[in-house]
Symmetry: C2
Subunit: 495 residues, 2 copies
């Protein structure tokens, strides 16, 4: 049930507290649920009774649980969470379910999505999606007719690896980015998240080492955790993931897979240099690891064409390249394409088959319509230009209104910029205050695996319209200002 | 990489041969690939050199591999497989990939889908889907306009647990089957396959016991294998899964989850009696296991309303109920709904989030349109009646033309009937002959976990139009006749 690391510098009681806290925040543990007894949990996790007592005390201190004398400790929150939640009467009947051990990760993504879909946060700087007013530019005007014509095929399952027409479109599209592929070697999946999941379920298991960039995309952390893999995070510099550290890792405990976002990295916006791309691939060849290359944002460039994908240099099938079509193209369709070679491709198809037998036909047809839209190239450029303007707005407001002691990246593409605050500020705690001000962001802690780094945050600037963006960043600056003025309040690792 | 069972009655060399054979048949191992050296494989699997030599000899005998003196053993097939396949030049460069251990199951489903999508099999009795001419009856005529109106929402990710409108439809629909649910406790997923996968990834891991019916749905076996769970299969009688045997299992090695298809079971068509449903739930309550209730076919009944779902009797949240909308409703949409309670529901949402962040919006809107179609009730009855006529055709041809010594079920709903041949007939081998005659079916072995049962097969009668169905079943009877006449040829466990 819990991921407890005995060799961590974080005390066991703190780790246990955090695991519960994640589950309470995401609603997996409903308000009113009884927590296991101290003895039960100590036995279950093979820790001392004192450790559990301390963990429960931490939960109480953080306003997430309450001890009722003679009855036990119960989830008890006042403000509360995204998803559903049981009513008081229903809860008791399901108490037995708490004993059902599960294999879920901390579900950080769930928490994020749960929070940001609530209507009472008008200034969502947490949503790394495109302003709907822009993304509809790519839909053909007669989209209804596209579907009407496609009706007969709605009555059949599509091929497991995707519609041939779409696989051909993808090949043409990737050629524009310098990547040559064959339609037979393209696999269509439900968004980048599923692509990461398929690669992980095919190739990662307990004991396997997977390397991620630090920071990285939270949804990937969740997937790798769910496979029981050992996640090693390697810091980045201005050119991307640090290969000196990765090489050392290869010497000591070689990874099976390296997950990277070389172009407009999420959350930092960094672009991996062409040289670094080449070196990373050479390292993969000599140490025989797989590279999972996540390309969600390369179509939204403010710098002209970004460096070619690592996959375009790949001769021996080391790269699993994922092109997401949920960022610039249709998010509601949840379509991504995977390019890989040899048996890696076939094994990913097997994983896709086991997962869901293939993607829906209709969403593939809609993405096909977007990719073959006669004005597609121009429209994509228009969208990138509009997003660049949004980035400029965010940068402008930050430079005018952010308090001193704060720095941020200036991305050359994509939807995200990365803000670093003084080390004593805890952005998990800040988020609660920001939400009160109607603003959301992604707290940096979600992007780290084990590191206790809590003084960063991600701003996504592509979702709001220009005026709302200006207001949102401005409000966020206000929250930052009061946080820095009242220094000391945010020392505690409050949840 | 391989699932080798040391305590099995099947010799190790035979097990190794089968594992390779599955991978060759499904294209995971491409024609021309070099197999590991005898020593490498012996080390990898911790078996003797002789065992590997025997396994490779079996592969050669079955026409799947070739030993080239001084070079090694290579995949070598003449007829061949469904998916892609490398060209000869490409293969060598990817040889290193063979050393990449994976966590895939045998991918039986892949094999099946690969085979049945080929255009040279005009009489597919293997496809458990609805005749497209029938399923389009449920689409609103103005479906294009439905999509056109929905265009703005295509620009956004939907909620992780599904569109509220669809969750409400599902609740009304389930009420017609005697099941009361709340929209907040419905989770929309990509078809039943994904629902099984989510339940497994949330609750099953190595060492956990999952019980399946014998025979069962092959796609479920693949999922449970991919989780490393211990799969125990329990035979069925006319009322469904045998509870005397399940009770004994609970005493000895209690399951964590029991996967069942109580209504128009796939592949047999059996309906679990109401009494048995109640008893199974009581057993779940006393042994505290979860029931995964797969309901793909209850809307296609030839017997009036089938018994109410087990979930309708569930008071304490033991049942994860899955309603598939890919059989009678739109297969190309790949939508299913899950009803569960308490933290089980929330944990399934977490698993869905990690898998793909939520189902596409547009497919959910289309299923919404189907469910709220003003003539939906009548049309569903019309479809069931048309499928019943197809079942009658299949039964009629079988009783007229099947050779003696063969028996079959007479299902009261659903798309499948189950044929039992004399025990010495191997339907895996028969399938090859059937394909030559232009007919496909599902060989029974795909529906069993470990049992060496090969004398059964599944006929799916809903896919072909009436004339093709008649011809297909007739041709199959011809294949069966010659098989029984040349008894002895099919003794060998040919692949």
């Amino acid at each position: 049930m819990f991921h407890i690391q005995r060799d961590s510098s974080v005390p066991l009681s703190e780790q246990i507290c955090r695991e519960f806290a994640d589950r309470i925040r995401t609603g997996i543990l409903a308000n009113g649920s009884r927590l296991p007894s101290v003895r039960e949990l100590a036995d279950m996790l093979d820790v001392s009774l004192v450790t559990v007592v301390q963990a429960y005390r931490l939960l109480e201190q953080r306003g997430l649980a309450k001890r009722i004398h003679g009855k036990g400790t119960f989830v008890h929150t006042t403000s509360q969470p995204g998803q559903g939640g049981n009513n008081a009467t229903g809860t008791q009947a399901y108490d037995w379910q708490l004993a059902v051990v599960d294999y879920l990760p901390r579900a950080a993504v769930l928490g994020i999505h749960g929070r940001t879909t609530s209507a009472d946060v008008p200034y969502k700087l947490s949503t790394a999606s495109l302003d709907p007013a822009l993304s509809s530019l790519l839909f053909p005007r007669d989209i209804g007719q596209v579907v009407q014509r496609a009706m007969p095929s709605l009555a059949e399952y599509g091929p497991v690896d995707g519609l041939e027409a779409l696989r051909r479109d993808v090949v043409s599209y990737l050629r524009e980015f310098g990547l040559t592929a064959h339609p037979d070697k393209i696999l269509i999946v439900n968004g980048v998240q599923q692509a990461i999941d398929l690669a992980a379920r095919a190739f990662l298991g307990p004991g396997d080492v997977v390397v991620v960039e630090a920071p990285t995309y939270p949804g990937a952390i969740d997937v790798f955790r769910s496979r029981g893999a050992t996640i090693v995070s390697i810091p980045m510099d201005a050119e991307g993931i640090r290969l000196d550290l990765l090489t050392r890792q290869c010497d000591q405990n070689p990874p099976k897979l390296v997950y990277t976002m070389p172009t407009f990295h999420n959350p930092t916006g960094i672009v991996m240099s062409t040289r670094r791309r080449r070196q990373l691939l050479e390292l993969a060849e000599s140490c025989q690891f797989l590279i999972l290359e996540d390309d969600s944002f390369s179509d939204c460039s403010f710098m002209g064409p970004p460096p070619p994908p690592i996959r375009s240099l790949d001769k021996h099938g080391h790269v699993i390249y994922v092109k997401g079509f949920s960022k610039v193209f249709a998010p509601g369709c949840r379509v991504a394409a995977v390019s890989s070679s040899g048996s890696i491709h076939t094994r990913l198809i097997a994983a896709k088959t086991v997962s869901d037998l293939g993607s829906p036909v209709i969403t593939q047809m809609l993405v096909h319509a977007c990719l073959t839209h006669p004005k597609r190239r121009q429209r994509v450029l228009d969208i990138a230009k509009a997003v660049q303007r949004k980035r400029d707005i965010a940068l402008e407001v930050l430079s005018e209104q952010a308090p001193p002691g704060i720095s941020w990246t200036s991305p050359q593409g994509g939807y995200n910029l990365w803000v670093t605050l003084p080390p004593h500020v805890n952005t998990d705690a800040l988020l609660i205050e920001a939400l009160h001000a109607g603003v959301s962001f992604l707290p940096g802690s979600a992007c780290y695996v084990n590191e206790n780094v809590r003084h960063q945050l991600r701003i996504s600037y592509a979702w709001l319209d220009d005026d709302a963006l200006r207001e949102g960043v401005s409000r966020l600056c206000g929250v930052l200002r009061s946080a820095l003025e009242s220094t000391g309040d945010h020392h505690l690792p409050v949840l």
